[in-house]
């Protein structure tokens, strides 16, 4: 649910990065944080364990600029990927405006991707959302590693709703901004649709 504040002239939208453990959700946020100028980003908050696994969420607010006199602000969240943190994932999806599913392209993570996608669909349904009706993008990450599945195969396994999809190597930034832009555009287009 985007929040439009006439007093501060802001549109606030929430984007959630979803995906299995260690697929690179936090790496996406890290890259965005490093590559955006200080004027447009807020503080990045990472609630992680000592071993860098996301415990609750990572959070990065971005102010992309003005649209029709309103500041467009995007709040980026990641969810913890590990299976047993489902309660945290449900909480973070609350009020979401768009979802980026980060898949780990490695062959031995195929099952983890599918399980996480199933979990996303279930958790969205619990809140009355469905993937086909929500701004949604898939990112096939870790394309630089050996032993990865072809994109076509990943697409067949995961992209049942025909959503836009991107190849990425989040650790060096490849594909990170195109993925974010794509979902942000979809959210703004939804705002326009909602206005008509």
């Amino acid at each position: 649910m985007s929040f439009i504040n006439y007093s501060s002239k802001e549109i606030n939208c929430k984007i959630v990065y979803y995906g299995p453990g260690l697929c690179g959700k936090t790496s996406n946020l890290n890259h965005i944080y490093q590559k955006t100028s200080p004027g447009i980003k807020g503080k990045m908050i990472s609630l992680a364990t000592e071993t860098d696994r996301t415990l609750f969420f990572d959070f990065l607010p971005l102010s992309l600029g003005e649209i029709r006199g309103f500041k467009a602000r995007f709040h980026l969240y990641t969810v913890p990927g590990q299976v047993f943190y489902d309660a945290s994932r449900k909480l973070i999806l609350k009020g979401v405006d768009g979802v980026i599913f980060v898949a780990d392209s490695q062959k031995d993570r195929a099952e983890a991707n599918q399980e996480s996608m199933k979990n996303l669909v279930e958790n969205l349904e619990e809140q009355g959302y469905s993937l086909g009706r929500l701004p949604f993008v898939l990112q096939y990450n870790k394309r630089d590693l050996p032993d990865v599945l072809p994109v076509e195969q990943l697409s067949k396994m995961l992209n049942t709703s025909g959503a836009p999809e991107f190849s990425a190597t989040a650790t060096n930034g490849e594909g990170v901004f195109p993925t974010l832009k794509c979902v942000a555009k979809q959210i703004l287009q939804e705002l326009r649709k909602g206005a008509k």
Partner: protein, 161 residues
């Protein structure tokens, strides 16, 4: 349809004024009204040194986690949380209408006073918020400023990244 919450200027000012009164009555430093999704609805007092966006997001996360704990204990909700620091303290209360009231105070006030004043202000703030939500709902169809945005407007947002 994708839903939005629109807070108009008049309602925004009334909510802010109610929060300002709470700052004064509770002798607090800052009062925030946050929604359960982590958006700042109103700020009162001197919040110039605070990262309000992050604080709002973490407050909502905190309340969501506390609410999860309540469910596990078969409680409906834990409606109040208190964090005690060396210099500043936080009093967080869950309000109806999916809102959270955060009061920051120091030794010039006390937990008892804050709790008392929060209880008194809460109903007024909830009523104002409900009015704002009702108005937003009524105007959902026709008052959006974004019907006219073009693909170029959207594209220009990303020109610098």
């Amino acid at each position: 349809m994708h839903s939005h919450f629109i807070l108009y200027q008049a309602e925004s000012k009334m909510i802010k004024d109610a929060c300002e009164r709470l700052v004064e009555d509770a002798n607090a430093m800052v009062v925030f009204l946050v929604d359960t999704n982590g958006q700042v609805l109103a700020t009162a007092g001197d919040a110039s040194d605070l990262d309000t966006t992050s604080l709002a997001s973490l407050t909502a996360g905190n309340i969501a986690a506390t609410s999860g704990m309540a469910k596990l204990m078969n409680e409906k909700e834990f409606t109040q949380i208190f964090h005690e620091g060396e210099k500043a303290n936080l009093h967080i209360s869950v309000l109806p209408a999916e809102a959270i009231l955060l009061v920051i105070f120091d030794e010039r006030s006390s937990l008892g006073l804050v709790r008392l004043r929060v209880r008194k202000s809460a109903q007024e703030i909830v009523n104002l918020l409900q009015t704002a939500k009702d108005k937003a709902h009524e105007n959902q169809e026709n008052a959006m400023p974004f019907a006219e945005i073009t693909d170029d407007d959207i594209e220009s947002l990303f020109s610098h990244s």
